[in-house]
Amino acid sequence: MALSSQTRAAWTRRLIAGAARGGAAPDSLDPRAALALLGARARFERPSLSEPAEIEPAVEDRRSILPGAARPPLRRLLRQKTGAMPGQTLVWAAFLALGARSFRLDPFDLPLAEPWLRQPWAPVGPTERAFLARLSPGKPTLAVLGWNETPSAERYRAVRERRVADPDEGRAFVRAQLPGLQAPARADFVQALELGLGEADRSLLGELAGDRARGVSEAAKALLARLPGSAAYAERLAAARQRLTLKKAGLLGGKRRLELAAPPKATRDPSMEAIALAQWLRLSDLAAQLSSTPNDLIGAAEAPLPALVVATAALCEGRADALDRLAGPLAAYGPAWFATQLAGPLGAMPPAARRLALERYVEAAPPTELVHSAYAGALLEHLEGPLSLAAARAMLRSPGAERALEELGDKAKARVALDRLISLAALVPRAATPELAAILDRAGGAATGPARDLIQFLQALPDEPDR
């Protein structure tokens, strides 16, 4: 039996209002039969939406999707509760390892990872951010955000990524985007040019030095001051020259010794002052000022403070090899020098030179502090990949790793020590994972299922994407 649309509407009104048995029925139907017919008819109706569906444009993400073989152990790790130890550390290490190797989570694992992605330390890239934004419908999705609305750190990172891939293309991108940007975004874009800074950037920076926004012009001027040939550079070079002296040394006077004069004003931290003195100066320029050569300066920097100056200037020029010869004096400053360089020249060096410098440093003098989550994280961010096999082995055999193992026996320190050991996982390349597993076994850490999952995950994770 078919009901006309008018009859259906009439019966629906009657059933809803409770008037099915009263008044004039639209036909001879029993109310229950009418209900059965209306119900059957309703099953063929399509849901009606009050607005058209909004489809998000594709999200650009340069990272590669995690290989399928690494998914099962990672999924087991992600099933742990957030906040519980050591699961928190294990997932943190897995995320670090993933990010450092330029991989991203498989999109199908995002639902499982969702509580972890909300942790402050989670490496959230474009795909993950878009995923989280979709779950908060009140907020605009990233895809509809312009550069002016994008968080500052994200803007900086985006330009930096382009700059890593191709410095010229990165500069062209910045130039093209600048007209539409507000001052804070312009400043971030300019700041990101520090990576791979070179003579080709001088023209753009010169234009930006006259920008009406103070933050932008200061950022541009600071970068110009790093370029040899600028007045600011010459001024800083002269200041360094005044403090440095090459003196004859040795019985026959054939050796040279570099000395650093005390600063005009007393300072509480001479090492930081020495680093600041040489920051962004090239070693070859410094050597020329002293009528010497870079290699001679490296050989003459025996004392710790001059060694800091020379090492810093060497890094500014990409001379990672200087660290081999300066490892001894630098070891006295270990973490302080390391941290400063990460925030300074190391961070601005081209990736290949930065990697070389860091690995030489880790191999030559692995400081105990490397076996600590904060340094591991900082290292990974700047390495953009795991350590080389040699550097990783040097670190795994370092006194810091040994000390962490010993501390496992101390109840008060055991938790932190395990945290440190597990954080190593993110740094080691696939070839070194058996050695890491052996260390964790000695520590008792790998005896737990989740720790074994982490090792399995690392073994299945290539050191870099197969592009």
């Binding site: 629906t12 409770g18 059965a36 119900g39 009050s50 058209p52 639902p111 979709r134 419908p137």
Partner: protein, 466 residues
Amino acid sequence: VSLAIGDVERIAPDQESLNAARKLLKPGGWPLRQREANGPLIWGECQGSGAAPYRVCAHTGDLGYKCSCPSRKFPCKHALALLWAQVDTPQAFAPAARPAWVDDWLSKRRGGSGSGKPAAEDAPKSAAVAGAAEAETVADDPAALARAAAARERAKAAREAAVLAGLDDLDRWLGDHLDQGLAGFAGHAAKSCRAVAQRLVDAKAPGLAGVADELPARLFAAPEPQRETVLLRELGALALAAEAYRRIDALPAPLQGDLRRFVGFNQGREELLADPEALRVGGVWTVAAARAEVQADRLRRLETWLVRDVAEPTFALLLDFVPVSTGAGAPLFIPGEAFEAGLVFYPSAAPLRALIQTRGPAAPPAWPAPAGGLAPALAAYDAALGRQPFARDWPILADDVRIGRADGRFVVTDAMGALALPIERRQDLAAAALAGEGALEICALWDGVELSLMSARAAHGRWFDG
């Protein structure tokens, strides 16, 4: 492997389990028995009372085991029988690569495949005796058989009478609500539906009771503007079933089967297998989804959705129920796995529910090609509903669809945006992930109101629910 019968005796929870295991040693009950070529693992599939064979695997070294049956004896008779068979007839176990479900067990077994914990440690603490699943029928006395047949007839007649009485109560309940008007139904839906569901359970109509029990949840899951339609659909389905059941003899035989299942009658496995008229379909079946849901009656409903790359019937549903109290509830299959099998379909105007009759080896997954976007998928749904008005969730396939947002929720929409089907809220996380994947090919369940995604194929691979 130096497994001995003494080992099997030692781990058996009681003599009854050993007796039950002995009865399972007949090869006919095992469509599959295999072993690792150079390892301690053995596994097999034992035909039990469910829609799908029980999957059991064991480690002949440490006697660890896993079985998909709901028994609360540890080890169950299937695990004992598997180990026993390995002692008695090791040649019956063909060497083979470990299937995915055995790998899955191994990966969850924290002790590892080589250094697993002893079986006794792996086993849950409880050792309560299983109920119906353990029962074995032994009767060969003709008089006793006749008495049993007569008793069954009496029970059948009593149940029919009880169901008809229950339908009268259902009619009264519906009539009362129609008299009051459905506008106020939502205000007391939970209490009222629970009451009529209880009455229908007493009347031995558990299928209708389930529809009544689920009604409030379905009602409130729907967006506000759609609730009136949902209410008419659900109450209408109950009214239709009540009316149709009183005139069931006038319906075509396949539709009678659909209606009886909707009301709550079960057709026994053996009866279905013995039915020469039943639709039998062989081929490669791929697991599209494996779901577990606890029902209001404290039974866990295990659904396995199978799909094949050949026209009608493209889908099959294996349905199993286990008591929640047994703790068993792990899916019987892993989504994405495929195997050759012969299925027997329950009589239906639109065959969907089935049993596995014969089980062959694993095979590469074979997915059907969707007929197009959402419009042809919904047309197929309409056609099925036209043949089988008691159908609930119906599987659909569609390609070139995208996931977007509308009215504050995730929807599946076609390339032109002309159609948009809301995705159930439970899948918000999955929908948020898939929304970034662009064009998708989906396999989903559609109930007329919400879509429940089972699987989706994106550019970089296939996603499965859960």
